[in-house]
């Protein structure tokens, strides 16, 4: 979860009755900058962080005295360590020493520091891989030491934080080593460690399917358009599956939760497109409901605690939704770029501490499968996303497209399957004809705090106010963007009623769910064709609040 300063301040300013969790934030630098974010992010996770920190530059003394003061080492500690905490000569604030550099001596110093840290019984370590002062005239020797420090930290169970979290300017100016831009991210990791449950071995791994188990969206690309082989674009997905298979054989349960129709979700297994088989999963829940409610149902069905579950998804929105509703579930984002894949796998690996595998472990999936009654997806209403969506800072940009400006809307109409009014495709010529006949083509862009999603909704309205095409990219499901666009459109067209040329297709269940809502009614038009009629007044009355979630930016 990521917060801005003002969002964090707003959360902290509200009174709450959450439980307090006490700990010591042990760092050599100033930590005041982090306070607002640590407090706010803790509240988001369901507790208050009450912590003490050390006076500036006293970490060495604090750690050195630890073996003689047991009431200190019994407390929970979150250590924020930099290379210069292990080798003080690396500290930028000291300037370069004239003394000779001795790799062995410096390394010994670092080992001793790590041994002292081990005195702390309940500790978590974050190691910031910051750039260091050049203390040796031999750069390769210095690099060797730098790598040894990282190894030491790995052995000590540290989480490694990337170097861009360090700000030399701030550190030199006032002893605060943390980059102002990264405060929320750093604090999120700290809160994660305070929460502490995640390093207990997990029992169930819940995975999304599209763009996680395979590359592609089965509902859009079809079974032939998804990839998870040990070559090409699906390579990392193959590796992910191979790791899941290893976990399953070691007794970890696997479950799938996907926004799809059940039959479609299981098709890749039936067609042997995947390394994993259907039977490797203890359950697969395919539904369009919120992921949190699906995971909750899984936990109930399998009689597992929520804190024994790890959830992997490629969509930051789904991750945030689950974090918000089920803070005990450990969430892991499947990264959009392959460069971030090793870090994600390392994070995943840490969740499952498996030392020896018994015969029962190997058969656990089968045992659970035989025990469970059914795998009916939850039809419970999803978690109320409104409060979360309000934090996304979503901006919609509607555009009335011209005869020269239709490329992306046309592409969207021709490749979208799931949120698609009727599955009707268009050629360029047909599109031009529609425009000449007076139909209007609208395209809607969407931006939020995660970035620019581009043009994600396209729709055609003919002269009789009948919507003939209406599609939305599956990348932006669950944001209420379709409602916002329709509200905007009703107002723009000043339309009392809108008709929809809806037809059920093999893939458009998400659109069917939308049009099944009470604002729509079915009728036969003058050509005796089935149409759906939207009661605009009722739709506006009941959904106008949705516009509060969005800022409308007119695209000129």
């Amino acid at each position: 979860m990521s917060l801005s300063f003002l969002e964090a301040a707003n959360i902290v300013s509200q009174e709450n009755t959450l439980v307090n969790r006490e700990f010591v934030l042990a760092a050599s630098g100033q930590t005041e900058k982090l306070e607002m974010f640590v407090k706010a992010l803790s509240i988001c996770r369901g507790f208050n962080s009450i912590y003490s920190s050390l006076p500036f530059n006293t970490l060495q003394q604090y750690v050195a005295l630890s073996d003689s003061v047991s009431n200190v080492t019994d407390k929970k500690h979150i250590f924020l360590l930099f290379p210069w905490d292990l080798v003080p000569e690396f500290d930028w604030r000291l300037g370069v020493s004239e003394n000779d550099f001795d790799l062995e001596v410096q390394n010994h110093q670092a080992v001793k520091f790590c041994e002292k840290i081990q005195n702390f019984k309940d500790k978590r370590i974050l190691y910031f891989k910051a750039d260091v002062l050049p203390i040796s005239l031999n750069s390769s020797e210095q690099k060797e030491l730098y790598c040894q420090l990282e190894m030491l930290m790995y052995k000590a169970g540290a989480r490694i934080i990337s170097s861009n979290s360090f700000s030399l300017s701030s550190y030199l100016a006032n002893g605060n080593p943390y980059s102002g831009k990264e405060l929320s991210k750093i604090s999120d990791v700290i809160v994660d460690e305070v929460d502490g449950e995640q390093y207990q071995a997990k029992k169930l791994l819940v995975t999304d399917f599209d763009n996680v188990l395979w590359k592609g969206v089965i509902g859009e690309d079809g079974v032939e358009g998804i990839y998870c082989q040990n070559e090409g674009v699906g390579y990392v997905h193959y590796i992910f599956q191979s790791y899941l298979l290893k976990l399953k054989k070691a007794g970890v349960l696997l479950a799938g939760v996907t926004r799809n129709d059940s039959e479609l979700a299981e098709l890749p297994f039936k067609k042997n497109k995947t390394l994993l088989t259907r039977n490797d999963f203890v359950e697969i829940l395919a539904s369009y409901e919120a992921k949190s409610s699906q995971i909750e149902l899984l936990a109930e069905n399998l009689n597992l605690n929520l804190d024994s579950i790890v959830f992997v998804d490629d969509n930051p929105l789904e991750i945030e939704e689950v974090k918000l509703q089920l803070p005990k579930v450990r969430t892991i984002l499947f990264p959009p770029q392959n460069e971030m894949f090793p870090q994600m796998m390392a994070d995943l690996q840490k969740q499952f501490v498996i030392t020896n595998v018994t015969n029962e472990d190997k058969k656990r999936t089968e045992l659970y499968r035989s025990r469970k009654q059914s795998s009916v997806p939850s039809n419970r209403k999803g978690a109320d996303l409104f409060s979360y969506l309000a934090t996304l800072n979503m901006r919609i940009s509607p555009k009335l497209c011209s005869e020269r400006d239709y490329e992306r809307p046309l592409q969207l109409i021709n490749k979208t399957n799931q949120f698609n009014l009727n599955g009707n495709r268009l050629t360029e010529q047909e599109l031009q004809l529609l425009l000449k006949d007076g139909s209007k083509l609208f395209s809607f862009g969407l931006k939020d705090k995660f970035g620019d999603h581009g043009q994600v909704i396209s729709l055609f309205v003919d002269q009789k106010l009948c919507i003939t095409h209406f599609v939305m990219s599956c990348r932006v499901f669950q944001r209420k963007a379709e409602y916002a666009c329709l509200i905007w459109l009703i107002k723009f067209l000043d339309a009392e009623d809108l008709t929809f040329d809806f037809h059920l297709t093999k893939y458009n269940t998400p659109f069917k769910n939308f049009i099944d809502e009470k604002y729509f009614s079915s009728f036969k038009d003058t050509r005796r064709e089935n149409k759906s009629l939207l009661n605009s007044a009722l739709f506006l009355e009941e959904n106008e609040g949705i516009l509060d979630l969005f800022k409308i930016e007119l695209d000129n």
């Binding site: 801005s4 300063f5 003002l6 301040a9 005041e32 900058k33 700000s167 300017s169 701030s170 030199l172 100016a173 006032n174 605060n176 980059s179 102002g180 831009k181 405060l183 929320s184």
Partner: protein, 80 residues
């Protein structure tokens, strides 16, 4: 009031713990007793985070009034 002005006003109110009577628009390091060097650090941090920018120590030294902060932000190349 622009987005920059509103956010800056909120940041100063929170960091300097100003009450509703205080005119934030006229706030300077000299006129507000709680605006010391540590508070300046917190203000700079909050601005960096809120506007997703980096403020160099040399620039931070000049951010000693509401007006100067607004001027700095309005002319910052990374803020639209």
């Amino acid at each position: 009031m622009s987005d920059i002005e509103q956010k800056t006003k909120n940041i100063l109110t929170i960091v300097l713990k100003l009450n509703s009577d205080t005119s934030v628009q006229n706030a300077t390091m000299e006129s507000i007793s709680s605006w010391d060097s540590m508070a300046l650090l917190s203000i700079v941090t909050a601005i960096e985070n809120e506007f997703d920018i980096f403020i160099d120590a040399a620039e931070a030294e000049h951010l000693v009034s509401y007006e100067k902060i607004i001027d700095f932000l309005n002319n910052h190349p990374e803020i639209p």
